[in-house]
């Protein structure tokens, strides 16, 4: 559930000099986090809002799980899609619990099920229900409001989540915590997430793949690793700041650069680190321990090896431009 396909999608606003979104064709796989990245005015939010039909494309089609979304009732479609926006957009006259209950109520779930769902979701986003259920949005911090926003978007158990710069107005420390939260939730829930951002670091941290947009068109759609090491053109290269090697290492996950375990691998004396750690952590570990290779662990089991050469390779390619 949650497979999304854009087929030659365009949108020209009446009076617009050029299309806001121009002939976008791409496929977002189920369970994938795709960050749409680009400068302001590049059409990233417009593209996102066509998925829940807040905007209607003037050309092309969008398919959700193979169904052309034009053929669905707009309200029915939207109830199946989680939607998180900047400033959270929480209903100020409703308590936290009432906010979370909006979509389940629209879907006419039985009351006990809604109540159970509220507690489940608040616990999931780490807001203890006993303390937060009956508060009003004005009584929450920005980060807490956005946690409620995420819980509310998840309430109807949608296969796909649209997130429109959800952490744009939140301070850096809280933003990092919320990004971690998204990654944690994603590992539990496996939603398809389409996430609009203009923050490169956020995109590199969260994305399985990044859709780089400029002037309404897709410039490059690839994994963070490939974008950094093989940017399609100078626009992508500059946008990602691909010339800052140490920063790059801090943003790339170990899993993207490691080699698979050789068949004759024996659990040696290599220092270990998690596949989610950054290459910067890896480099630091190699320099600190002087070990020739690191063993990469996933859930405690070795899954790969990483050497200084692997780290170098992940930076050299992009530098050759």
């Amino acid at each position: 559930m949650g497979n999304l396909q854009f087929d030659d999608v365009s949108l020209r606003f009446s009076g617009g000099a050029r299309p806001a979104v121009n002939r976008v064709t791409c496929q977002v796989n189920s369970g994938e986090i795709v960050v749409i990245l680009g400068p302001s005015g590049c059409g990233k939010t417009t593209l996102l809002k066509m998925v829940n039909r807040l905007y209607e494309p003037t050309g092309g089609n969008i398919f959700l799980d193979g169904v052309n979304i034009r053929h669905l009732k707009a309200t029915t479609l939207r109830q199946q899609i989680g939607y998180v926006i900047q400033q959270s957009g929480l209903f100020p006259h409703m308590t936290v619990a009432e906010n979370v209950a909006v979509v389940p109520k629209l879907l006419k779930w039985p009351k006990p099920q809604i109540q159970a769902r509220i507690d489940e979701l608040l616990a999931l986003v780490k807001l203890p229900p006993g303390e937060f259920r009956d508060r009003y949005p004005a009584q929450l911090s920005g980060g807490q409001q956005q946690r409620v926003g995420i819980a509310r978007a998840l309430a109807g158990n949608p296969g796909i989540m649209l997130m429109d710069e959800p952490f744009g107005a939140i301070d850096a420390i809280t933003r990092t915590a919320l990004q971690d939260e998204i990654l944690r939730l994603q590992s539990q829930l496996q939603k398809t997430i389409l996430f609009v951002s203009h923050d490169v670091e956020e995109a590199l941290r969260l994305a399985d793949r990044i859709l780089v947009m400029g002037q309404g068109e897709v410039v490059q759609f690839d994994t963070p690793f490939n974008l950094l090491t093989r940017p399609a053109n100078n626009f992508v290269y500059n946008l990602l700041g691909a010339d800052d090697m140490v920063r790059q290492l801090g943003l790339l996950r170990v899993a993207s650069a490691m080699m698979a375990l050789p068949p004759n691998y024996s659990n040696g004396h290599n220092p270990t680190l998690s596949h989610r750690d950054s290459l910067r952590d890896a480099l630091s570990l190699i320099l600190r321990t002087g070990a020739p290779a690191l063993t990469v662990l996933e859930d405690g089991d070795p899954v790969g090896l990483l050497t200084l050469d692997h780290i170098r390779q992940s930076t050299v390619v992009g530098n050759g431009r």
């Binding site: 829940n52 807040l54 707009a74 309200t75 029915t76 479609l77 939207r78 109830q79 199946q80 899609i81 939607y83 926006i85 900047q86 400033q87 959270s88 957009g89 929480l90 209903f91 100020p92 006259h93 909006v102 979509v103 629209l106 508060r135 009003y136 949005p137 004005a138 009584q139 929450l140 911090s141 509310r152 649209l162």
Partner: protein, 211 residues
């Protein structure tokens, strides 16, 4: 005071007349103002002429306005009620349009994006959010209406104004004082009741901030 105490029956009759006029006028005024405000909100270019026209109406002295209306509706409460309706329009329409425009667009977008229909967005989001602002308008309109109803006594409409005008004509200061006290008390009580209602319509501000 002595008049109030000695003839509570007379004062009560006048008070009820006063309340009846105010109530009818406010009811009609609200029923008119809601569609006008919605129209002005939807059709933007109407805002300037409509608000301008209502604003001009508001500048006409109430006595003059009622005199204008007498040939149309007769020398009775109807003319006074029509004047009250016209006067309160500008207050009600303005509060409602300002209230609707003041709803955070992010909130409305969230409502739409979550799959609420037009009527669900209206009843579950817009109405509860605009209600406190609208009630503030109703409160001011009610005070204005009570004041105009007082002048209504001059036009054979009854009400507490009768005490004032009778008192002036017959040099009965006790009647004048009684009328003034009664009108003021009425205005204060209605104001208090509507203020409580406004407060009640705002659950998010009723509770203590948590930080």
């Amino acid at each position: 005071m002595s008049y109030l105490i000695s003839t509570p029956g007379d004062v009560l009759t006048l008070l009820l007349q006063h309340l009846r006029m105010t109530g009818i006028a406010l009811g009609i005024a609200i029923a008119l103002a809601v569609p006008i405000a919605l129209l002005v909100t939807r059709v933007r270019w109407l805002a300037v002429p409509v608000m301008g026209g209502l604003g001009i109406l508001y500048t006409i002295p109430s006595l003059a306005l009622i005199i204008f209306l007498v040939p149309l509706f007769g020398l009775n409460a109807t003319s006074v009620i029509v004047a009250m309706v016209l006067y309160t329009q500008v207050i009600l329409v303005r509060n409602l349009t300002v209230g609707l425009a003041g709803i955070n667009p992010a909130v409305l977008e969230a409502a739409r994006g979550m799959g609420m229909s037009v009527s669900q967005r209206w009843w579950r989001v817009q109405v509860p959010l605009v209600l406190p602002v609208f009630l503030a308008g109703v409160r001011i309109a009610a005070i204005v209406a009570i004041a105009i109803a007082t002048i209504g006594a001059k036009f054979n409409a009854g009400g507490l104004g009768k005490l004032l005008f009778d008192g002036i004509q017959t040099n009965r200061y006790d009647k004048i004082v009684a009328g003034a006290i009664a009108v003021a008390a009425l205005a204060l009580v209605i104001n208090g009741l509507l203020l409580a209602l406004e407060h009640y319509a705002q659950p998010q501000r009723r509770s203590q901030p948590g930080q």
